[in-house]
């Protein structure tokens, strides 16, 4: 292009570029509030967490003086910290138990309540009610119900002639008890989600299949379950996320005991950070837990979306 051509073309291009810039600026201005909030309250703390995890810090000294540890915190957790491995195992145990039992139970209840049943609204409200109760209150009530010495449940077992159980005082029964309480608390919420999913399935599909002589079981496997896949995906991902981060229920119900049998990763993280003042190590746990949750979620999304 000659100089003369450049002179001719440049003003037009420049105007267009300015227009684009103005439009871009307006766009940026509109998304700025959300972007700023995201950076300040999500991305910023996340990056800060990663940064702290590479240091040793007790929260009492200035950030500028904390010694750099590199991968030291990660290496310690993976190689030397037996309690980290134990609490991670407990967390996975809780998550798997909670996901399996909650999904099966919530779906079963939703299927029953989706059919012709008397007092349907009452049952829906009854199952949903525990979900709106504060976990702290639930934990206190269940602590009394499950007390091995003087608990109500053991009183009931004794009356019907069954052997009393140690429940929360037993190394083997404490975690299943905790899962049971968690399922009782949350199953109503997931039941409502499944119910919404069931009601979105066109009824004519069932009618057509019935005309072809399909059994109830076959209707469930070939129509209900495949069409519930998006709902199932949502429920499984949400329960997994919340289960891997469980804290309040074991914190109040068992304090992680007996002997660490219900000590979860987030409880250990809390203890490491706020009781032992080892923020570097605690944030390293948080980063590793994030990695696990992220990976698990991606796998679940891939598996459950595969056939769509």
């Amino acid at each position: 292009m000659t100089t003369a051509e450049q002179v001719l073309v440049r003003p037009g291009r420049a105007r267009a570029k300015r227009r684009v810039n103005r439009r871009s600026l307006a766009g940026y201005a509109f998304v700025a509030p959300a972007l700023i909030l995201l950076v300040v309250f999500a991305l910023g703390p996340f990056l800060f967490t990663i940064w702290v995890s590479l240091h040793s810090w007790n929260m009492l000294t200035p950030l500028t003086t904390m010694p750099f540890e590199g991968a030291g915190n990660y290496s310690y957790l993976l190689n030397d910290d037996a309690l980290f491995r134990e609490t991670f195992g407990n967390t996975v145990y809780f998550a798997v138990g909670n996901v399996v039992v909650s999904v099966v139970l919530a779906l079963s209840i939703a299927l029953v309540l989706n059919g012709p049943i008397r007092l349907r609204a009452f049952w829906r409200a009854a199952f949903f009610m525990p979900y709106v109760t504060a976990p702290v209150a639930i934990a206190i009530v269940w602590r009394n119900i499950l007390d091995s010495n003087w608990g109500m449940l053991n009183g009931l077992l004794a009356r019907v002639g069954l052997p009393e159980q140690p429940f929360l005082d037993s190394l083997n029964q404490a975690m299943p008890s905790l899962i049971g309480v968690s399922v009782w608390h949350e199953v109503g919420y997931y039941m409502i989600i499944f119910l919404a999913g069931l009601q979105a399935i066109p009824y004519d599909l069932y009618e057509a299949a019935k005309l072809d002589g399909a059994s109830t079981w076959r209707l469930f496997w070939t129509i209900t379950l495949p069409l519930l896949r998006p709902t199932m995906l949502f429920v499984v991902v949400v329960i997994t996320l919340s289960s891997l981060q469980v804290f309040d229920l074991p914190f109040i119900l068992t304090q992680g005991g007996p002997v660490n049998s219900t000590n979860t990763l987030v409880m250990y993280m809390y203890e490491t950070a706020f009781k032992f003042l080892r923020m570097g190590r605690a944030t390293a746990m948080a980063v590793m837990l994030f990695g696990v949750i992220f990976t698990m979620t991606m796998i679940q999304l891939r598996l459950l979306r595969e056939r769509e």
Binding site: N149, L171, Q255, F274, L277
Partner: protein, 447 residues
């Protein structure tokens, strides 16, 4: 460019580029932060405001404390005192967040186990010489030891607590037991005798209550028994844990035997089982007295005895305490120490109680650390429940104030519970806890 405000004053506006605006916006948090700190500094020049942080937050504790503070501010009109309270469980979090956010109080009331971290992080100001001299001269040896770290006193001790064997007199009477156990053998035997079971074998009254799931509830009684068996917790130079010696193993074996005998229950922090009369004995601190007084058990049914001891040992109770300290970042450190000196010294004569002594004995039912306060309140401290705890201070030892103390204690608690549950032998459990402790001590020594 000019514009006018509501008063009609003309204000000049300079054109600001986008870059300048962005730079200004980014710098604003620092500017505001600096400005807020500046306000406090300026304020301190003409009138002193002391911010006091404590966990004494219930109305029964806060109201009398505020009255005492008001007494001081009336006598010193240039001083105002703001009392901030949080629950004990949140106190350490509040201290760390206050430190991070530049909102640290002038005066801290804290658990002495936190001293190594606080001193190591330069959170606390060293007291002036007259305060150190006052503390070392007016408090018992164990209490001064509990307020010291690296051979230096760091504040005024307030409530002191030690552990004793607390028992249900009615249960003793029903079992035909006339005296509290003094030796380990008697201790185990008494726990057995106090245990009641129904026809199905279910425990209806436990001989002894272990306070599981709570680090102090597990480790403090165990350490008292360890010392009463001639053992040591840690080397004097903090280089090595010694609680896994034979003396420690014997104590954990004794506790495990009591569990295996079926003579115990594992209670939670509520301690409701003892208060409702379903437990024969436990080892607990004097602060529990206030709860027991309010319980249905009745103080007439509560007995207190020295810690049982091993062969050749003598009863030694673990003692811990709280203390007032001044923040290193306080702009009013001198005023804070002056106030603390007033708060913790006898009012008129050497025989009189200090304001703190009055508060501790009346609002908390606690034992004051200052010896003159103990004498001034001799009538209250001669109460049948309190007196054995006071007497035990003569031989008690302070909870070891060592670097990483909280982490070592929590790890030890978990290992002791593991032995109770039969997951590990007492020897293995204590060796694991000692290995952890040695690692932590080494790490802290290097940092």
């Amino acid at each position: 460019m000019t514009t006018s405000d509501k008063t009609g004053n003309r204000m000049f506006m300079t054109p600001v580029s986008r870059r300048r605006f962005a730079q200004g916006l980014a710098a604003s948090p620092f500017v505001f932060g600096a400005a807020s700190r500046g306000v406090r500094t300026t304020y301190a020049q003409d009138k002193v405001k002391l911010v006091v942080l404590t966990h004494w937050g219930s109305a029964e504790q806060k109201d009398p404390l505020e009255k005492i503070f008001a007494e001081y501010t009336q006598a010193n009109p240039n001083v105002t005192i703001e009392l901030q309270t949080v629950a004990f469980d949140d106190l350490l979090n509040r201290i760390t967040t206050g430190q991070l956010g530049g909102e640290a109080p002038d005066i801290y009331h804290f658990y002495n186990l936190w001293l190594p971290d606080f001193v190591g992080s330069e959170l606390l100001a060293a007291p002036p010489d007259d305060i150190s001299t006052d503390v070392t001269g007016a408090y018992g040896e164990g209490t001064v030891g509990g307020a010291s770290y690296n051979s230096k006193v760091w504040g005024y001790p307030t409530e002191v607590n030690d552990y004793q064997l607390i028992y249900n007199k009615k249960a003793f009477q029903e079992a035909g037991i006339t005296a509290a156990p003094t030796t380990f053998a008697e201790f185990r035997d008494t726990a057995k005798k106090l245990t009641k079971k129904d026809s199905s074998g279910k425990v209806t009254q436990a001989g002894f209550m272990f306070l599981a799931g709570w680090d102090s509830g597990v480790v403090h009684p165990w350490t008292s028994l360890l010392w009463s068996n001639g053992g040591q917790y840690v080397a004097d130079d903090y280089s090595k844990a010694l609680f896994n010696s034979q003396a420690g193993i014997d104590v954990l074996q004794l506790e495990t035997d009591i569990v295996n005998d079926g003579s115990s229950i594992m209670s939670t922090l509520t301690d409701a089982d003892f208060e409702s009369g379903r437990v024969g004995m436990t080892i607990m601190a004097n602060w529990w007295g206030a709860t027991l007084r309010a319980s249905s058990l009745g103080m007439d049914n509560v007995g207190v005895a020295p810690i049982p001891h091993g062969e050749g040992g003598t009863p030694i109770a673990l003692q811990y305490e709280w203390l007032w300290g001044v923040g290193n970042t306080s702009q009013n450190a001198d005023a804070a120490w002056t106030f603390l000196k007033w708060l913790n010294n006898p009012r008129d004569s050497a025989e009189a109680s200090s304001p703190m002594g009055e508060f501790l004995t009346s609002a908390l039912n606690a034992i004051p650390g200052r010896q003159s306060d103990q004498k001034a309140h001799a009538d209250l401290l001669s109460d049948p429940f309190v007196k054995p705890f006071v007497d035990a201070f003569a031989t008690s030892k302070s909870e070891p104030i060592i670097p990483g103390a909280q982490e070592i204690k929590t790890n030890l608690q978990k290992q002791i519970e593991s032995a109770w549950a039969g997951q590990e032998s007492p020897t293995d459990a204590l060796n694991t806890a000692a290995q952890d402790a040695d690692r932590i001590l080494k790490e802290k020594a290097a940092s």
